[in-house]
């Protein structure tokens, strides 16, 4: 099975070499858990290795995202043109109006149009929640089903970012419904859950757990997610 390396130190080992190519992976977590940074990092490293990627931002502007990722040491110029940022956040401001906007159709127009000249293999949608609000999903589960079906037809590895409440999954053993709002976990091939865990009376630690990854044997423990010149995961010490 062909796998897409995440280039996250420790994570690829846990995943047996990376994420199975063509998977739809839900990256869910509370605000501040570095969902965007982590997925951007995956795209960035793969782009440097020659695999084209498309990052679709519905919330953060291109300038803000680039500013943020440069701060982490990821220079867009280093990707040799293999990473494209689609700034739909800017378009959102320009298209505001009194009637419903065709966001799902626009998403397809861009993603498929770009595919014809830029053969990307990885795509990040940041975020599912913004899309749900913008596209005014009437029947959320059906719309999400259509979205995942369309993503599969693109034959790419997709990362869908999903926002969870800050207090979600803080229990010792979170129920599955904490990983997604609308049971989209059933549609995704993989789920990466990110959370902030309390460490002692004052400290907080980012943690990552592979909740699900089809076609992969993996442990389901939480791992500490650390950023030091790049992401890495380590075992959690008591």
């Amino acid at each position: 099975m062909k796998r897409v390396p995440t280039h996250v130190d420790g994570l690829d080992e846990v995943l047996g070499g990376g994420i199975p190519a063509g998977s739809i992976v839900l990256v869910s977590g509370a605000p501040g858990t570095m969902k965007s940074s982590l997925t951007y990092s995956i795209l960035h490293h793969n782009a440097r290795a020659g695999t084209k990627g498309l990052y679709i931002s519905l919330e953060q502007s291109r300038a803000s995202l680039l500013d943020h990722t440069r701060g982490l040491g990821y220079q867009l110029e280093a990707t040799n043109g293999n990473l494209s940022l689609l700034d739909l956040a800017a378009l959102r401001k320009r298209l505001e109006g009194p009637v419903e906007q065709p966001w799902m159709d626009l998403l397809r127009l861009y993603a498929q149009g770009i595919r014809s000249s830029f053969d990307y293999r990885l795509i990040v949608l940041d975020s599912l929640d913004a899309l749900e609000i913008l596209a005014k999903f009437q029947n959320v589960r059906k719309e999400l089903f259509d979205l995942t079906r369309w993503l599969r037809s693109l034959d790419v590895t997709a990362f869908l970012l999903a926002e969870l409440p800050a207090d979600a999954g803080t229990g010792a053993s979170p129920p599955r419904s904490y990983f997604a709002k609308h049971k989209e976990e059933y549609l995704a091939d993989g789920i990466l859950h990110l959370k902030m865990a309390r460490q002692g009376p004052f400290g907080m630690q980012r943690q990552l757990r592979i909740v699900k990854m089809r076609g992969t044997r993996h442990d389901t423990d939480y791992h500490a997610l650390v950023f030091e010149d790049g992401f890495k995961i380590t075992r959690i010490l008591a």
């Binding site: 378009l91 159709d105 149009g113």
Partner: protein
């Protein structure tokens, strides 16, 4: 520095420039790779020679010079064969690569047998191998010059390159040997001429600019047109060729459409790759190269040559015919399909094409067949119905394809609905509904037929009694005549009602896919209007907004090519909106 060294350094600079030029600008992977390795061999050969001659390198480097010389000869033969046979050479004639096999053997034997650069072309195993390689290259160029009109010009340049190599190689070495001068034996100062000639042919046979994808596995799956064959679609307008291309692209089969208009052949949802035939006398040669590059990357795909007549006009029919003949083996080897359209070919050109004995499918014009099907239900008024539909959707009759059948069905339903609402005769309305349902069902059945089934010639327009117009007019019952006449009037009114919104919508949808209608509604709402209230002045305002507001749609993309494509689509929307506003005024 001795004069010979200066000459070789100058040659090296030119070689390096040609190498960089081809490496950066070339579009064919195999040709580019072979050219680059050949140029590197020449450069290594020259540089090592100058280094040794000027005392900068140890004498042991003569072995490197000899190795580069030996490698350059089979590479020359392989490059010449590749330039003639294209990217598919390793697949079609893998035996040619066997020329590289003796290189390591000869390199190993060189120190044992005392072979040196100065004795490279003498009567021994090494000399025989080098001369054999040059002879293969020369023979192939002479053969192609005699047998091919497509390579008439290119074969001259190839011959020039090979002859230059022979004259400055074995011939010059022999002369120097005869004169007893051994210092300059073995080096070759004509390498820039050789590389320039080969680079020229490389660019003559360059594929048209196409956003090729990476190499993929051979496609295998269900298809409406078989693999390994060249099909000729005989149509007045290349409609079924494009319909087939789109339907195959929707199945996931790689499709390339070669046309004069280039890259706007499909909606984003089902877009095949498109390539624009550039107006050059070498259009036929470049078409072969484009198809070859595409099929090597996407074996099992389909190449649709939509504007074969344009290639014939640009390159001449003899070259075009040879181009077509060269596509057939390419198809067989990659299990791919080529579709040729006879649209606008002259009668003699069609005859020439027919002599190649490819599967020949005569296909109808969908517009005529749609009218014939409607005529079965509505008699001679079918033409009037179709004209009303075209008027309402800003279409020319010639543009009608089976893709419009859903829109025609909806148009007829709407016309009957309007008639039922105003006529107040339930029986008449019901009768018309049945007629419309029957026509729509026949239209859908016609749409479901693929080119293979239509090629048999049993088209609705040819069926006996299909247009039994007299019967409908004279023997029809009173209500039937009255109903259809009223339907035509209703359709006329529908065609003329609210044309601006429908026409604007069709423009937006054509250029922006499904998102187009939503974007149009948003823009209309921003004008403070509803679709029903649109006037010509509003359309002009919409066009103005398209160049400002909608420009943001392209600005959010950071890929120059895609941004330009979307900008072009939006500019086209603007121009067409202005055109319909002008028409309406």
């Amino acid at each position: 520095m001795i004069h010979t060294s200066v000459a070789i350094v100058v040659a090296l600079i030119v070689d390096a420039w040609l190498l960089a030029f081809v490496a950066l600008r070339g579009r064919q992977t195999w040709l580019k790779a072979t050219f680059v390795v050949l140029a590197l061999s020449f450069i290594l050969m020259g540089a090592a020679y100058v280094g040794s001659a000027e005392g900068l390198l140890a004498p042991s480097w003569h072995l490197a010079v000899l190795a580069a010389l030996v490698l350059a000869h089979p590479l020359t033969a392989i490059l010449v064969l590749s330039l003639i046979h294209g990217e598919t050479l390793p697949r079609r004639r893998p035996a040619s690569l066997l020329l590289l096999l003796p290189v390591p053997l000869i390199a190993a034997l060189a120190p044992v047998d005392g072979w040196r650069l100065e004795t490279a072309y003498e009567l021994n195993l090494l000399g025989a191998f080098l001369v054999l390689c040059l002879a293969i290259a020369l023979a192939e160029t002479i053969h192609v010059r005699i047998t091919s009109v497509l390579f008439q010009t290119e074969s001259f340049w190839l011959s020039l390159g090979v002859v230059a190599l022979i004259v400055a190689g074995p011939v010059y070495s022999y002369e120097l040997g005869t004169l007893g001068v051994s210092a300059a034996v073995g080096l070759n100062v004509t390498t820039p001429v050789v590389l320039a000639a080969f680079a020229l042919v490389t660019f003559h046979a360059e594929p048209f600019p196409t956003p090729f994808r990476g190499h993929r596995r051979r496609w295998s799956g269900a298809s409406s047109v078989g693999g390994g064959l060249v099909f000729v679609f005989e149509e007045a307008r290349p409609k079924y060729a494009i319909i087939t291309a789109r339907s195959e692209a929707r199945r996931g089969r790689p499709v390339l459409i070669l046309s004069r208009s280039g890259g706007k052949a499909g909606h984003p949802e089902d877009r095949p790759l498109t390539s624009m035939i550039e107006p050059t006398a070498r259009a036929a040669l470049r078409t072969v190269a484009t198809a070859s590059e595409f099929l090597v990357r996407d074996p099992g795909g389909i190449v649709v040559v939509r504007d074969l007549a344009d290639i014939a006009a640009l390159s001449g029919w003899p070259r075009t015919r040879e181009m077509v003949a060269r596509l057939a083996p390419m198809c067989r080897e990659t299990n791919s399909t080529v579709i040729l359209c006879t649209s606008r070919l002259s009668a003699s050109e069609k005859e020439g094409l027919r002599s190649l004995r490819y599967p020949w499918w005569p296909l109808p014009d969908p517009a005529d067949e749609i009218e014939a099907i409607l005529a079965r239900s509505f008699g001679p008024g079918a033409g009037r119905l179709l004209a009303a539909f075209c008027r309402g959707h800003a279409l020319r009759r010639g543009d009608l394809t089976t893709d419009h059948i859903d829109a025609i069905a909806s148009f007829l339903d709407e016309a009957v609905g309007d008639l039922a609402g105003t006529a107040g005769d339930a029986k008449a309305a019901q009768s018309l509904r049945e007629q419309v349902a029957s026509a729509v069902s026949a239209l859908c059945a016609f749409r479901a037929r693929n080119p293979a089934s239509l090629a048999g010639g049993d088209w609705p327009s040819r069926e006996a009694g299909a247009t039994d117009q007299d019967l409908i007019v004279t023997a029809g019952e009173y209500w039937k005549g009255k109903e259809t006449e009223e339907l035509f009037a209703s359709a006329d009114a529908l065609g003329a009602r609210d044309p601006l919104y429908d026409r604007a919508r069709s423009i937006f949808v054509e250029h922006l896919g499904n998102a187009g209608e939503g974007v149009l509604r948003l823009e209309i709402a921003r004008l403070g209007k509803t679709p029903e209230e649109l006037t010509s002045a509003d359309i002009v305002r919409l066009a103005d907004r398209a160049s400002v507001d909608l420009a943001a749609m392209a600005e959010v993309i950071d890929l120059p090519r895609e941004r330009q494509r979307l900008s072009d689509e939006l500019e086209s929307v603007r121009k067409r909106l202005l055109a319909i506003a002008g028409d309406d005024a």
